[in-house]
Symmetry: C2
Subunit: 243 residues, 2 copies
């Protein structure tokens, strides 16, 4: 980040590369204004003039912090991509439980995971960003790929690593663990996430979310639990009072 | 559609509501130009001036056919939504096969269905439209909902109806058939469609597509085949030489 004494910006001088408080605040205001505009109007329809006006700074200040609209957009997308850390950390905390010794334990953990996963990806800001990046995937293919790899794909990798530990304990029979984790992810997320992509207001009720989570886990375990644990462990059989 | 003798448009007069050939051609040219522009630049960044220029007609001609940009956009989205008929008709043709009497038959049919489903939703124009509608879902919630209901959701309904017939033959044990069909859809499509949303050039190779289809069907049948057919019918068990 370049710093200067430009009186137009009102920024006070600071050592190179170390923003002083005022400059950092302005940078934050610019990013917040630009994020809101990009999410509302898309990339092309957002102008640096609007960003400056909404951030209540001069256009020169905007250009002091960001070389151009593209750089501003990139920093925002990559910044919000970093926020997917929160979802992934939450997933990891559930999966790190070491007390899983039975299919029943595993079912409980995976159902809890599934619920949190749905809640995480259906947060309004996550969905809005997802929509924006999908919209701009052809204009910014590298950025969209980075998001895909750092967020949805990384979540699946984290789940794959956990599933492998359950396989080592003899609970699962995965074959390709990455594929199994992706099946888990889309069984859990596919229904509510695809609907919410198109219908922003459509979120499952807590009861529907719990049902989606439980049924996704039922299907997943029917396909992937180790066959030694298979008999008498089907949730549907149990639920319906069958053998 | 209004018709007039406006010399600017060059359209010859026609009976009300019945476009003559020249007018219909112009209408088509406008819709084609607008579709290309909306897909490339999004809704907000496309102007009626550009549409007129790209369609090689006057702006008056554009407004003769479409009251405003919003109406033009709506007609295009709903028109392309109608094209999803092609995918759904293709799915239906596979599912209408009445010779399915065993799990092996069903596996074959569902795997064929899964392959066609992947091919259908990964077509470039389908993906581009999907991206555009997702991008505009907050601006045009009714349109996005209509698309969702007429295309992805309708495909799932068609599959649910077919699955019910297989359940009646004692091959499946579905519980909620709509949920089972949605599990099938996202098991099949989730991985390649989500990736292609973000990475427009990433399509599975034919071999990868076949593997995704086969594994999705394996997971689906493990969870949903009627338990009377369950033993000795697991594809993974068979593949691995287990019992």
């Amino acid at each position: 980040m370049r710093q200067n004494d430009d009186p137009v910006t009102g920024g006070s001088p600071a050592a190179d590369g170390i923003p002083d408080g005022r400059s950092a605040r302005k940078r934050r205001a610019i990013m917040e204004a630009a994020t809101a505009l990009f999410l509302r109007d898309g990339y092309r329809s957002t102008s640096m003039d609007q960003v400056a006006a909404d951030a209540a700074v001069s256009k020169q200040t905007v250009y002091k912090h960001f070389a151009d609209k593209e750089q501003l957009f990139r920093e925002i997308v990559l910044g919000v991509t970093g926020n997917s850390e929160a979802i992934i950390t939450d997933l990891t905390s559930v999966l790190r439980d070491n007390d899983i010794g039975s299919i029943a334990d595993l079912r409980t953990v995976l159902t809890d995971l599934a619920r949190r996963y749905i809640d995480g990806v259906l947060r309004s800001n996550v969905l809005s960003l997802r929509r924006l990046i999908i919209a701009e995937a052809e204009r910014f293919p590298d950025l969209a790929r980075t998001y895909f790899e750092q967020a949805p794909s990384r979540g699946i990798n984290v789940i794959a690593a956990a599933l492998r530990t359950y396989e080592k304990r003899g609970l699962l029979d995965l074959g390709d663990a990455r594929l199994a984790a992706a099946h888990f992810a889309y069984l859990v997320l596919g229904i509510p996430q695809d609907r919410a992509q198109f219908c922003p207001e459509d979120r499952p009720s807590p009861a529907e979310r719990d049902l989606l989570a439980a049924e996704a886990v039922r299907v997943f375990l029917a396909a992937y639990q180790d066959s030694r644990h298979r008999s008498g462990n089907s949730a549907r059989d149990a639920k319906r009072g069958r053998d």
